[in-house]
């Protein structure tokens, strides 16, 4: 019963009869039935279902913490489920580990886990069983050849001998995508592959995914960017609170409907109304220079949300890091609330001056995963919860309680390790930590990366609330709709310089994009 659309050979380029529509009727390449899994009191999965057919791209959707990543780990043998069955090509299977799953043709690209920094790009692409070898001896030559093929398929020209740790974040992600593609998987699962990619790379990825689909591969695709889902996927499954809610054709769904099913309520409008900024300048920057940042000048006012866009590597993150004191500027001046800060100011001084950063990489820069919510929030507030070098537990409790309440952080208790929270809640912890410092200027680098729509909307509302309270918010985003939707004004960077500035109210994506590519005003 597993015969029908099984593709002929992994390497074959046959355009199998498997057009998306034709696939719609076939048997499943992989099925998870009634899976449950709990972690120490948290029921991550209860009655989760997933059934993917060969030759389809199947979106797996749900809010942060809905259980998508956990389900993926169960079907790839990382976790043993507490209950439920896995069926691969009609046969019940149990995977004892990732290897077993991979051997059965089930391969995943896991969320937020990408590369091994200390080894070469080529090896990263062909890690594990893919590594070309004979009798335990590795062939470096065929490794390079094959790695090149897989990267070129994604249109990536990355020197194969480079250490993966030396690549830009985008390139690192592309390398890990190439690794997933290199496996000849029959069932390929991608957990938020595009979270840190920009449009160009996303395009490349989609081309490859479509051609794999046409070869008969079953693809599971997890993303919080619903536009992508509607563009790419054939069917979708929505999960909520660890349970299966629905599975249907994408063509029979609308974005609004999907969102309300995911959230289980009407999310309302995604972006809140804009506010009115005051005339009072809180931060101004002139002729700032860094490694990549060149001659950047701008100022922002109290109550304003300033969006910063640009292509990957255009220097946006570096700009925020310099403003936050996390990286050295080589020249230029930064003035906060009328006072010029020292060139040597580091993070503590900038926090003192009223500038706080919510960094780009949540797990490595934002939170200490092993520490509790309480300890994480206390981190940035040590000076304000202590006197004469002694920390007051009571004062910590106050800010922690306030932060958890204001931001509606979902957790059993403030003593829960942050590593156990979903991505959205982790991000809220980072925010809570910084907001407790009552910054005049809040810098946010990709504030909604990997965060579901429901939580996204909450974060946009929060940004507005802060602005209404007189805070200046400077937010970097790689998603143009978000950039326009959340900001009052948008700066675009190109190769380290500010290449354009637009009022968000009448911005249009095309114009922003042309600035991103460094073109002068097209109008």
């Amino acid at each position: 019963m597993t015969l029908m659309t099984e593709p002929a050979e992994p390497a074959s380029t046959t355009t199998a009869a498997a057009a998306p529509a034709a696939a719609a009727a076939g048997p499943f390449a992989l099925e998870a039935r009634d899976v449950s899994k709990h972690f120490d009191g948290v029921h991550a999965l209860r009655g989760a279902q997933l059934a993917v057919r060969p030759g389809e791209i199947h979106a797996l959707l749900g809010e942060n913490g809905a259980g998508k990543s956990t389900l993926i780990k169960v079907v790839t043998g990382v976790y043993a489920p507490d209950g439920g069955t896995l069926v691969r090509d009609g046969e019940e299977v149990q995977f004892t580990g990732v290897r077993a799953a991979n051997r059965a043709g089930v391969v995943a690209l896991y969320q937020e886990l990408s590369i091994i920094p200390s080894i070469s790009v080529a090896e990263n692409v062909l890690l594990g069983e893919q590594m070309p070898s004979r009798g335990g001896i590795v062939s470096w030559r065929s490794m390079r050849q094959r790695a090149r093929v897989h990267l070129e398929r994604l249109n990536q020209r990355i020197p194969l001998g480079m250490l993966a740790g030396e690549l830009s974040p985008v390139q690192q992600t592309m390398v890990s995508v190439a690794r997933a593609l290199a496996t000849d998987a029959k069932v390929l699962i991608l957990d938020e592959p595009t979270a840190s990619l920009t449009d160009t790379e996303i395009r490349e990825l989609f081309v490859v995914l479509r051609s794999l689909r046409d070869e008969g591969v079953a693809i599971v695709y997890v993303s919080h960017r619903l536009e992508e889902v509607f563009e790419l996927c054939d069917r979708l499954t929505i999960m909520r609170n660890g349970s299966h809610i629905t599975t249907r054709d994408v063509s029979a769904s609308t974005i609004d409907e999907v969102i309300s099913t995911m959230v289980g309520r009407d999310p309302g409008s995604l972006y809140p109304d804009r506010g009115t900024a005051t005339e009072q300048v809180t931060i101004s920057v002139s002729d700032l220079q860094g490694r990549r940042v060149k001659d950047v000048s701008f100022s922002a006012r109290a109550g304003e949300v300033l969006g910063i866009g640009g292509l990957a590597g255009s220097g946006r993150s570096e700009l925020l890091r310099i403003l936050a004191g996390a990286q050295k500027q080589t020249s230029g001046t930064i003035t906060v609330a009328g006072t010029t800060v020292s060139m040597r100011a580091a993070v503590p001084q900038m926090l003192e001056a009223g500038v706080a950063l919510v960094p780009e990489e949540r797990r490595s820069q934002g939170v200490v995963l092993g520490a509790t919510i309480r300890d994480n929030i206390a981190l940035a507030n040590i000076p304000t919860v202590s006197s004469a070098g002694v920390v007051s537990g009571a004062r910590i409790s106050t800010i922690v309680e306030r932060g958890m309440r204001d931001l509606q952080i979902k957790a059993h208790s403030p003593r829960q390790p942050v590593g156990e929270l979903s991505g959205g809640n982790q991000q809220k912890v980072v925010l809570a930590k910084m907001l407790a410092r009552r910054p005049k200027v809040l810098l946010m680098d990709e504030p909604t990366r990997g965060i579901d729509v429901g939580t996204k909307a909450e974060i946009y509302r929060l940004i507005r609330q802060l602005a209404a309270g007189g805070t200046t918010v400077i937010a970097v985003s790689s998603e143009l709709p978000e950039l326009i939707g959340m900001s009052d004004r948008v700066l675009i960077m190109h190769e380290g310089r500010v290449s354009g500035e637009v009022d968000a109210a009448d911005a249009d994506e095309e114009v922003l994009l042309s600035y991103c590519y460094g073109k002068a005003d097209v109008r």
Binding site: H38, F39, D40, S69, K73, V78, Y79, A80, G97, Y110, Q111, E112, L113, P117, S118, L163, G165, E166, A324, A326, A346, V347, P348, M350, L351, L357, P359, R363, S364, Q365, G366, V367, V368, L369, G370, A371, D375, A378, L379, A380, I382, P383, S386, G389, V390, V391, P417, G419, E420, K433, R437
Partner: protein, 334 residues
């Protein structure tokens, strides 16, 4: 350093990385006290074997006396390990401090001068280690391995390779005097451990140390002065190790270049044993104290049973493994 392997020689993160948060059942929670259980088991065992001796006042005092200086060195090690580093030079530092005190006393200096100079030596070494690690970005392992080598050499020079002795009573009293029939080093060890515990728990610097140990980058972006804090951690470790060395010299009435050199291994073992006591797996003072107690009870108990010293050594290793395994069961996961 970007391209640095993110794995961690020295601290296991075997099966559970970023993603695989271990499941914890009730049974497993109970086991998280595994190291404590190991201590209790050891005490019960030795008590059962020699009920007439093991838990007598004299013997307990004996154990305390025997581990008091190790406990002080282990406090130093704990501070550095909280920050996520190692200090391989703690024992050497204590020897050098003790040797400097001994040499000054032998040269006729006053007890005050000798003690102050020895404390200053510990402090200075800690400062140098801290500068190497925090400001020159050397790996703590290499830096303190190298400084250990130099320090031992310096201690040989100071003592001319001999054992110095014949110290004034004002000095030896620090190590041999008693209060309420309990030797001074015991009080001092308790005092130092309490102070360190309070510093780690209640002060801004203590919190900063834990934050850095949790994740340096997060700590730095949260406004913690990582360099200054690490420098301070090493400095404190040097200072405390120096004090330990003075007490050891006072306690033995002698000082030599290699005196107390096994305190290095035992201090690291104690901190590691202690790390298994708490959920987060971080170095912590309570745990260290338990670790020190395990080591002390084990060595005293085996002596009391009259176990051959070679066999003792074999057994010691096995007991350490058993204790850590017992408590690491809790974090095993697939």
């Amino acid at each position: 350093m970007t391209a640095t392997p993110t794995r961690n020689p020295g601290i296991e993160d075997t099966s559970a990385g970023v993603l695989a948060v271990p499941r914890r059942s009730l049974g497993q929670r109970a086991l998280s006290g595994g190291t404590v259980l190991a201590l209790v088991a050891l005490v019960l065992f030795f008590f059962a074997m020699r009920p007439d001796v093991f838990l007598t006042f004299t013997n307990v005092r004996n154990i305390l006396y025997q581990v008091s200086i190790l406990a002080i060195i282990a406090v130093a090690q704990t501070v550095v390990m909280v920050v996520g580093d190692f200090d391989l030079s703690v024992a050497a530092t204590s020897s050098l401090s003790g040797s400097v005190a001994g040499a000054l006393l032998t040269a006729g200096q006053s007890v005050t001068v000798a003690v102050l100079a020895a404390v200053a030596v510990g402090l200075a070494i800690g400062l140098v280690n801290g500068l190497l690690v925090a400001y020159l970005n050397l790996s703590a392992f290499v830096a303190t391995l190298a400084s250990m080598t130099s320090i031992v050499g310096a201690a040989y020079l100071v003592t001319q390779g001999t054992t110095l002795f014949n110290f004034p009573a004002g000095f030896t009293q620090l190590g041999q005097g008693r209060l309420l029939n309990i030797p001074m080093p015991v009080y001092l060890a308790v005092l130092i451990a309490l102070v360190a515990w309070a510093v780690l728990r209640f002060t801004t610097i203590g919190r900063s140390w834990y934050a850095i140990g949790g994740n340096v980058e997060v700590a730095r972006l949260s406004g913690i002065s990582v360099r200054r804090s690490r420098l301070l951690a090493f400095t404190v470790a040097g200072l405390v190790a120096g004090i330990g060395g003075i007490l050891l010299a006072a306690r033995l009435g002698s000082s030599s270049a290699v005196q107390g050199s096994d305190n290095l291994m035992f201090s690291v073992a104690a901190v590691f044993l202690g790390m298994t006591v708490i959920r987060s797996g971080a170095a912590n003072l309570g745990g260290t104290v338990i670790g020190v107690a395990i080591i002390g009870v084990m060595s005293n108990g085996l002596n009391i049973l009259g176990v051959n010293s070679y066999v003792q050594q074999v057994v010691t290793g096995i007991i350490i493994i058993a204790a850590v395994t017992l408590s690491s069961l809790k974090t095993r996961s697939r």
